[in-house]
Amino acid sequence: MKDVKWFVVVLVLALLSTGGMAVAGTLDEVRARGVLTVGVNPGVAGFSMPDEKGVWKGLDIDTAKAIAAAVFGDASKVKYVALTAVQRLPALQSKEIDALCRNTTVTLTRETVNGLNFVHPNYYDGQGFLISKKKGVKTAKGLKGATVCTLPGTTTEMNAADYFRKNGMPWKPVVIESNAELNKAFFAGRCDVLTSDASQLAAIRSVAPNPDDYIILPEIISKEPLAPVVRHGDDQWYDIVNWTVMALIEAEELGITSANVDEMLKSTDPQVQRFLGVNPGFGKALGLDEKWAYNIIKQVGNYGEIFDRNVGPKTPLKLDRGLNNLWTKGGLMYALPFR
């Protein structure tokens, strides 16, 4: 008898819980909750890593903060959920998080079969190889028979398989799920090479026992556009996240920084006036406050500031802007028109 009662309770709960699920949009849910939940990488220096005080820092973290600034006018209202490569997509699909800012490569399969939508990339990357100088290898073509460390569930795992297959070179993968364990195995010499996105390799090298002992081979074997991700089926939320990334780039194009944004409010340039909400319109269109872009730039900074702060030449990663420079300076960062 007790069992029967229990079943009825479960059944009723199950029916009730799904009744309200389909209706509310992500923006309303986030506002009602009062905090934005974002999936991030558990630890890649420069992109997403807690510092010694436990405060999350990095390019992906700043992107998440920008979304919070746009939605709440407060960049600190973010809850970070650390996810491994294997966990990240299911976490987004199952609504555990509102958006994923976790160096995730845009691919056709992920946008279709996995039911996800990628916004504008916040970092253009490519896959490379990190190797100890002692091995005396100067090019990826010399990796015949090598043992290669890689993360599971990543595009890098498949790209490496493609690359070695195409060049007819035998190899052996060592696949470990946790970044920390993988790096440990690599530094201990379990593998000859470690393959990942070039930016991550720079991050891993920066935390090596002796960074100068390692080089990144010149070959970049794939395109890895890394972008924030949202679920299929909520166009308004997609627009908000997409145009948040655009706003970061647009601000750099317009020369607006966190330092001069208050002065820029007085600018006579109609483009700047529209962008910062002095001339209202964009905020309403997105379902946000008219000050959304102002809040992003004031609290987080423009794309150039974010890049320099986290991964630029003055950081341990020492990455050049390269592909991530503005289109006007030979890069790929191109904000679509704010009109």
């Binding site: 009825v8 294997v86 079969v113 039911g115 028979g145 569930g153 795992e157 696949v175 195995a185 201990a188």
Partner: protein, 394 residues
């Protein structure tokens, strides 16, 4: 007369007061509810997947996997299908679980007996081993053995050679093996034939002993057969002696057989952890046989080895086998921790598959089905064995 009375009573009692009918009613109700719940969950999931445009179904199994797997018992490449990739993973799980179970039972029995030893030092050493291994989580043990392997051993270029034909480095242990030769297949057949002959010989020896009381040394003859038959086969093929020696070529050893550090670390962790539990099971089993049995056996003049084989063990096994089965299942299930140290077991391969295809529900269902199959077949075998050793009650 009685029949009439019964029907009269059942006519009087309304069906909701008849406990038998009521029980049937509630069982039906429960069954319907469980069925409805299952249907609801499945259909709800499918609708939600459809709404989010997430693919469902097992069609992905026939597609090219396009990822590589570190070690495999069957030919596999990135051009193989997901089905084959998953099979490679399942076989890797079977490999580590089977070898692990065999060694664990062997080691566990020795330690369990040592724990009961009258030698103070042996008994205390066994006790320390059991306490330490039982109390450290198996995942930590895996990390420990893996780190030990990777951090302390030299690179392939400076590999250690503890014995002829063996090289130890941080890529694993490379063994020299005899080069492939048709004789090997016939040697394997000779071993199988030896097993059959031993089985028949034991039946014959037992019957003869029951009839005439004469004892036949089956054990010694059996060992001689198992070793002798393959050896004779090997000689008839002209005793091929060519060896496949692992040679350092480029980054790594080529040739021979390479056992990876992931496999060794996983095997070590699982064996040491589980054998501590098995040791306790064996000790409890032996202690469950009352002292009087041993004394009675000795009083009729049986040798100590016969006391153990004919009196103690048959009775102890009844107590040992059921908990031993659950330890074997534990070892098999714990082998899924392999993912932490990069051994490509079934869970690891299935995880990668889930990620590349995005079909987590199907992937997790496959993982559950495969482990259920492993567990059920292990317990089916052990139940059969348990019936054989169980006390025959008359």
């Amino acid at each position: 007369m009685r029949g009439f009375k019964d029907s009269a009573i059942s006519e009087k009692i309304p069906f909701w007061l008849d406990p038998r009918k009521r029980a049937i009613f509630f069982q039906l109700l429960t069954f319907c509810m469980v069925g409805f719940l299952a249907y609801y969950l499945v259909s709800n999931t499918l609708i939600n997947l459809e709404r989010q445009k997430i693919a469902s179904g097992f069609g992905f199994l026939h597609k090219e996997s396009s990822f590589e797997i570190g070690e495999s018992l069957i030919p596999y490449s990135a051009a193989s299908t997901y089905t084959r990739a998953l099979l490679v993973g399942a076989l890797n799980t079977v490999k580590v679980a089977f070898i692990g179970i065999v060694i664990t039972i062997f080691l566990g029995t020795i330690i369990g007996v040592a724990r009961l030893s009258s030698n103070w030092l042996v008994s205390k050493l066994a006790a320390i081993f059991i306490e330490v291994m039982q109390d450290i989580p198996v995942l930590l043990q895996l990390f420990f053995w893996y780190a030990l392997f990777c951090e302390t051993l030299p690179s392939p270029q400076e590999a250690l050679t503890p014995g002829a034909g063996i090289s130890v480095c941080n890529r694993g242990v490379a063994f020299t093996i005899p080069e492939a030769h048709p004789a090997h297949r016939y040697m394997l057949l000779a071993i199988l034939a030896g097993c059959v002959i031993i089985y028949l010989m034991r039946r014959w020896a037992r019957k003869r002993q029951e009839k005439t009381g004469q004892f036949f040394p089956t054990f010694r003859v059996g060992i001689a057969l198992l070793l002798g038959l393959p050896f004779v086969t090997w000689l008839t093929f002209g005793a091929p002696l060519k060896m496949d020696v692992p040679v350092l070529e480029g980054f790594n050893f080529q040739g021979g057989v390479m056992v990876s550090p992931e496999f060794i670390a996983l095997l070590m962790g699982l064996i040491l952890y589980t054998s501590a539990f098995v040791a306790e099971v064996v000790r409890a089993g032996i202690q469950s046989v009352s002292k009087g049995q041993k004394e009675a056996a000795m009083s009729i003049g049986l040798r100590p080895s016969l006391v153990l084989n004919l009196v103690i063990l048959p009775q102890a096994l009844r107590v040992i086998v059921p908990p031993l089965t659950s330890q074997m299942l534990n070892l098999t299930k714990n082998s899924s921790l392999a993912v932490a140290i990069g051994y490509p077991d079934f869970v690891s391969v299935a995880n990668t598959t889930i990620n590349q295809t995005g079909q987590s529900i199907e992937g997790v269902a496959l993982i559950m089905a495969v482990y259920l199959f492993f567990s059920l077949s292990t317990s089916a075998f052990m139940n059969w064995y348990n019936k054989r050793v169980a006390l025959v009650e008359r």
